[in-house]
């Protein structure tokens, strides 16, 4: 319980300091506030993806259903954080550059990750048998693992060569005030803690469900 409470305090303090004390980033101005939420969400979406894929591979190797529990739980949570990241990102884009969507490389990457999450979950929902579901979704996870470097690093950057009308939205290299960096990192750590807490809860629930079904 102490751990949970400290997580609560940690994130609350980070939020308070970030919003009240930390200065605004030069280019971003008023929209600075979003980065304390938007980027941690995107970060967690990626962490969850990695966690899910890792456990998918572990499942294929060890055939222990607990790994499948982790993979599925991570995918569900990852989807939530990914949607949050995409939506906050779109709102930020609208405030900054006037359009919700620009196929900016980072927007494109997070959207592709969203597609992967939804495909994975759709696949899972189409299979009833536990073992088959675990195995097939793990296989898909590995396929996705191959596609991810292309989807996140290569393809989004191709948009400019595909569409030669540049929209000036490069996030310039800004000298971040140390207070901003501190709050930002604190939020990253806090979100990570939050994620793993939610992850463990979901896995415990899956285990309980399995126990109930077996009984």
């Amino acid at each position: 319980m102490l751990l949970r409470l400290s997580l609560f305090v940690w994130i609350s303090v980070a939020m308070v300091v970030a919003l009240l004390k930390a200065p605004l980033v030069p280019v971003l101005l008023e929209t600075t506030r979003v980065l304390y939420f938007h980027i941690p969400c995107a970060w967690i979406a990626v962490v969850a993806l990695g966690w899910s894929m890792l456990h998918s591979i572990l499942y294929l190797v060890k055939r222990d259903l607990r790994h499948d529990d982790h993979a599925a739980a991570a995918a569900g949570l990852g989807l939530l954080f990914c949607i949050a990241a995409t939506v906050t990102g779109a709102l930020w884009a609208k405030a900054m550059w006037g359009a919700y969507w620009n196929w900016d490389p980072r927007e494109t990457s997070i959207f592709f990750v969203l597609l992967l999450y939804t495909a994975y979950l759709a696949l899972r929902s189409s299979i009833q048998e536990e073992e088959k579901r675990a195995r097939l979704s793990a296989v898909y996870s590995v396929i996705a693992f191959v596609a991810v470097p292309f989807l996140v690093f290569v393809v989004p950057r191709m948009y400019d060569s595909l569409h030669p009308d540049p929209i000036i939205n490069r996030r310039g290299k800004v000298d971040m005030d140390p207070m901003i960096v501190l709050c930002f990192n604190a939020m990253l750590v806090g979100f990570t803690g939050l994620y793993f807490w939610m992850q463990s809860l979901r896995v415990r629930v899956s285990r309980l469900e399995r126990r109930a079904h077996a009984a």
Binding site: L136, I143, F150, L162
Partner: protein
């Protein structure tokens, strides 16, 4: 089943011949695919109009038509086996990898036949600018192999689920996106007299990565 080099090749060749023969017997799949390709390229080229000067748009439209062709026809590769319950028989004769390789080669061939029919028609209907055949065939070739590699793999996964066409499309799209992007890019480069090598490299890298993953994964796909 001892899988020495030549044994494997024979197994793959046998499976390829078997696929060709069973497809040729009814020609249902091929007919449907050709008809669908005709329908989609007609819809696209009619709606878009003569785009002789917009080769960038043409490149995108061409590959969307080919993507549709892939999504509609390649999901069936393994479904036939699962539904006809011939999968067990096949497994007695060949390893999962050999079966998959045979089907992959068949899918490449299948797509090639559809393209021989659809691509010239597309070029004519849209009044496309003259094509640099060397680069164009290279992009088409590698793009087709990459499309087939992705679809065969995903098809093998989907065949064992209850979902079919729509699920296959939704699940394969993220995996097909890099192919689409690279192929469209390459086709544009072909038309705008730029070198297509970067796109070809991308297509090849992706296809190789997927094929390497397939080798590891097919054994996990069919248990029992």
């Amino acid at each position: 089943m001892p899988a020495s080099g030549s044994n494997s090749a024979v197994a793959v060749w046998t499976i390829l011949r078997k696929e060709c023969r069973s497809e040729w017997r009814t020609r249902y799949g091929l007919n449907a695919a050709l008809l669908f390709a005709l329908a989609s390229l007609t819809a696209v080229s009619f709606a878009a109009g003569r785009l002789g000067d917009r080769s960038d748009v043409l490149a995108a439209l061409l590959w969307i038509v080919l993507l549709f062709a892939t999504l509609s026809s390649l999901s069936h590769a393994f479904v036939r086996e699962v539904e006809g319950r011939t999968m067990l028989l096949l497994r007695l004769v060949a390893s999962p990898t050999e079966i998959a390789t045979g089907k992959l080669l068949f899918n490449v061939l299948f797509l090639a036949v559809v393209e021989v029919f659809a691509v010239p028609l597309f070029l004519v209907f849209t009044g496309a600018p003259p094509v640099r055949w060397g680069p164009f065939l290279a992009v088409l070739g590698l793009g087709t192999i990459a499309l087939a590699a992705s679809s065969t793999l995903i098809g093998a996964v989907i065949a064992q689920t209850r979902g079919r066409g729509a699920l296959f499309a939704g699940v394969s799209l993220p995996v097909l996106l890099p192919v689409l992007a690279a192929a469209v890019s390459g086709t544009r480069q072909m038309w705008s007299a730029h070198p297509v090598a970067p796109s070809l490299r991308l297509l090849a890298a992706y296809a190789v990565a997927l094929l390497a993953a397939s080798l590891l994964l097919y054994d996990h796909l069919w248990e029992d």
